[in-house]
Symmetry: C2
Subunit: 203 residues, 2 copies
Amino acid sequence: METARVRRSSEFRQAEIVQAVVALAAECSPADITTARIAGAMALTQGAIFRHFPTKEAIWLAVAEWIEETLLGAIEEASLSSGAPLEQLQAMFRAHVGFAVAYPGAPRLIFHELQQPGDSAVKRRIRGLLGSYRGTLLQILKGARERGVVAHEVDVEHAATLFIGAIQGLVMQSMLAGGMRGVEESAQGVFGVFLSGIAGGQR
Amino acid sequence: METARVRRSSEFRQAEIVQAVVALAAECSPADITTARIAGAMALTQGAIFRHFPTKEAIWLAVAEWIEETLLGAIEEASLSSGAPLEQLQAMFRAHVGFAVAYPGAPRLIFHELQQPGDSAVKRRIRGLLGSYRGTLLQILKGARERGVVAHEVDVEHAATLFIGAIQGLVMQSMLAGGMRGVEESAQGVFGVFLSGIAGGQR
DNA sequence: CTCGCATGTAAGTAATTGCTTACTATCTTA
DNA sequence: TAAGATAGTAAGCAATTACTTACATGCGAG
């Protein structure tokens, strides 16, 4: 009982494919995402996928671009929500964790691409993403240190690594628990510990 | 020009296979490790692999066991090197990072297994590993809090998550950089930031 | 109204996967 | 020294991979 065949524009299908990949990555390893599974997830045949992307690599690249736009967009929006550096950091942290909770496949995709050997276009894109992420992080941290709300002896590079690691730790914890339940609450506490690690001011 | 055929005990080959997997994981994604590549890495034919392991799953399990023994062994040894909780934590941190530097494939294997769906014997083993890791971490943190060297308002669960995340962040940074160069130095600094985040005492 | 093209399907392709098979070489030991 | 066990090889298995091809069809422009 095949369902009625639906015709959509290629642009529409491209976006749909990207979303399907992100959704599938939430439940299985990116390495196990085949074009057949993608097609199955959107009620298409496997061959139809190649009407909208020339190659599977192109799909991964489109996914990477979507992650870049969405995550960096959320981060930037969060950083603009306040003028106080520490509040900016907290908003960014919250936004990043919120993104990971909303799209649990995204961090997996990033990690999966990074550990691929060699240099692909996808990997370069992901590196660029993380580079500009780290860049805004460093900028805020440096500004905070100049204002004295972050202790001047803190190495901002190390602080940025710990900031990113804190989120990684939360993601890992959620993979252990088998779900994203309670992650946002833990995030609050973990960020608190991080914050008192870099705080200067009243000491 | 095939090299002279070498005969080794099955026990010897099993250990060799585990080491080959760990070494291969340092250079490529665990998903790309095939039995043929394993065999190639140790100058054997692919079929010979199955003389020493009944199935590929059994290989992954043996690898997980090796990681558990080696990592937990190093961690325990480090934690016994001192009686002072904060020094214990630092020794554990150093030992863990050292392990990741010596065997860069190990964290990838752990992450790869964790994001596999369902419940396999391998995944259960990895969960057990991380569980007892976190257990000793919590024990030390609680002891430190009772002695007052860790601020009493610190949530030890969150602190443990941040501790593990800090290492994850360092691993991620090294994957970005494309190598493990300089990680141990960064580790020192990152741990310093973490430490001042949980430190109580002289405030 | 109709015709061309974009979007779909179904059935291929070669390559690669984990694993098995039939057979051979080496070592131990009675 | 003959026999059995162990560890190796090469070839081939069915299943799965990304990707291609041949053919069907519905929508919009002329």
